[in-house]
Amino acid sequence: MIWQQLLNGLTLGSTYALIALGYTMVYGIVQLINFAHGEIYMVGAFVGLFLVTVWDANLAVAMLGAMAVCMLLGVLVERIAYRPLRGKSSRLSPLISALGASIFLSTLMALIAGVNTRRYPAVQDVGSYALGPVQLSSMQVIILLVSAALMIGLQFLVAHTRIGKAMRACSQDLDASALMGINVNRVISYTFAIGSALAAAGGVMVGVYYNAVWPYMGTLAGLKAFAAAVLGGIGSIPGAMLGGLTLGILEIMGVAYISSSFKDAIAFGILIIVLIIRPQGILGEKINKKV
């Protein structure tokens, strides 16, 4: 049973990780907790659902379509809700604006699609393979492979491309980067676009895997992913991946070996302990303030 539960945890964890990446990337560059990020994930799930039901798209097309739409949406949210406030006001104003954007997107979707939970039609055969003691479903394989591919792709983008280099520069010092001739606004837009695309991919896969899509699904998933990003060390990309996987596995193991009534209490209890011992998160960099 432990292997089966580990697999369950890895699957859940990879979806957390995909969302957590968006939080961490945005925070790394503009020090903003983008609370609308969970809603982008929700919109991604709905766009995928739309493509699948109305246009009979397959899973890959649905995912790419959702990623494209959410890239635009992420950039739009940044342009409308955050950019006008950047540098002009306290750090609290963009945070409140983010909460507003989050509420706006989820209620808008509730108006468009209704508040009932919807299910994805069968886009993917739910084949399942017995691997020794483990029952592996085809959707679990897809989630694990696609998440891994997206994360490797992101790592490559950040480490080896010009825009990645610009992102790293901006995360170190936004003002200095601007002085060096980097178009900071463009870099920020790219960051939102990439983070949103990852969340959208997560949204579509979660929708198909758990068969449930509803307008308020982003709130809880967003909170969990945010916690995962903090656990891994906010601002750190490998940290978000590790944090997501750790949180997913902790939750599942809590249910499996302690008690399902304390599922969230166990996961978040451990999170608090980790943060007491390592306030910067597992892979976060220690910030030495100059006196």
Partner: protein
């Protein structure tokens, strides 16, 4: 000048409002002469906003019962008159409406509300004004305890759940039972102990006990644990959405199991979300089914279909019965005064209503029989699986 004008307008507006209010007040004070020619019944229920899907069929059932009684000459030689306000499922609205029924309309009885919380609010007002209130849907605790004017007629979980457990263990032979509770759902946390007590009393074994939360979607760990415990049946005490998702996950992990639950599983989304995974695999109990009618029910269902062009549901049947039961008590007491006929009402025994047979126990709680076990069959929802007798309460 301009300012004074505005002030004058405001004063006139106030005056106009007062004048508009006055006749209303006046009417409520003077004894309405019409009260002697009809017996009034007030409808409690939502026709819009929240819980309208309970109130709308309820109103239809109540209207039909009143028309049928009036066609036969009414009660005690007087016509019945229904008053149908919309409480919007809101606690302030229902308080206003109940007060209006009691003081302005001077009704003999209020019928409704379908929900426990709102019924309690109206019951406080009815009890204070010495007017009978008859809920056709409140299943929670602390309703009839409010006072001797408070009645209800609906299948209570404390009678239904033991009957279903008896059926599971003694008819089906499912002794090893798993139970899942949704911890952030008050209905579920209240229903689980009822099931657990019944399972222990009837000699079943609880082999696994798990929790989930409403609105969560990842139930992989719970289902993997269930597979290990090998139960013969799964009792789930929550709502239909999570029921469908649990069954989908069970199907995914290759766990073939029957799920049994309360009327919280009664929702169209069970079929829409669950599809093949819930077909004839999710069974829940309810106090009414339009399938396989008894002679009394058959006439009601046919008349209802003819009048409204749709199938009646539990609420239309229970509102219909409520009117009929109250009319019967008035005839027996030879009075439409709530102070008098409430004693007759409490004596109700084996009343063959369209929503089943009803007896009021000494504490005025309704014992209804039979219990209908419903499920999803192909495109049909809800479809009747079996009719089982309600087991007598151990009191």
């Amino acid at each position: 000048m301009k300012k004074r004008n505005a002030r004058n307008w405001a004063a006139m507006l106030c005056l106009a409002m007062l004048v508009a209010l006055l006749p209303g007040c006046g009417k409520s004070q003077s004894p309405a002469p019409a009260a002697d020619t009809t017996i009034k019944l007030g409808f409690l229920g939502a026709k819009t906003v929240n819980n309208a899907n309970y109130g709308i069929p309820g109103e239809k059932g109540m209207k039909m019962a009143i028309e049928e009684i009036n066609a036969k000459g009414g009660v005690l030689g007087k016509k019945l008159e229904g008053i149908y306000e919309d409480n919007k499922g809101d606690s302030r609205e229902i308080a206003n409406i109940a007060t209006k029924y009691a003081t302005v309309d001077k009704v003999s009885a209020m019928i409704g509300d379908p929900s426990t919380g709102l019924t309690k609010i109206a019951a406080d007002i009815a009890q204070k004004n010495q007017i009978v209130i008859f809920s056709a849907g409140a299943t929670g605790t602390g309703v009839v305890e409010i006072g001797d004017y408070v009645f209800r007629n609906t299948l209570l979980d404390k009678f239904a759940a033991p009957s279903v457990v008896d059926w599971m263990i003694n008819t089906k032979g499912w002794k090893n039972i798993a139970i899942i509770t949704s911890t952030n759902n008050g209905y579920s946390t209240a229903l689980t102990p009822v099931f657990k007590t019944a399972i222990q009393a009837k000699g079943g074994n609880i082999v696994a006990e798990e929790s989930i939360n409403d609105k969560e979607t990842d139930f992989t760990a719970q289902i993997t644990k269930l597979k290990q415990a090998k139960p013969q049946v799964l009792v789930f005490t929550g709502y239909y959405t999570e029921a469908a998702l649990l069954m989908l996950e069970a199907q995914k992990q290759g766990l073939d199991i029957i799920m049994v639950g309360g009327d919280g599983l009664y929702g169209e989304d069970l079929k829409k979300l669950g599809g093949k995974a819930v077909e004839e695999k999710v069974i829940f109990y309810a106090g009414f089914s339009a399938d396989q009618p008894s002679p009394e029910t058959d006439a009601f269902i046919k008349a209802y279909r003819a009048k409204y062009n749709e199938d009646p549901d539990m609420f239309s049947a229970q509102y219909y019965d409520a009117v009929m039961i109250i009319a019967k008590a008035m005839e027996a007491a030879k009075s439409s005064d709530p102070k008098v006929f409430k004693a007759e009402l409490a004596k109700l025994k084996d009343y063959p209503g369209v929503s089943g047979k009803t007896t009021f126990l000494p504490d005025r709680e309704p014992l209804k029989s039979p219990v209908f076990l419903l499920t999803v069959k192909g495109d049909k929802f809800p479809a009747l699986l079996e009719k089982i007798p309600t087991s007598a309460p151990q009191q």
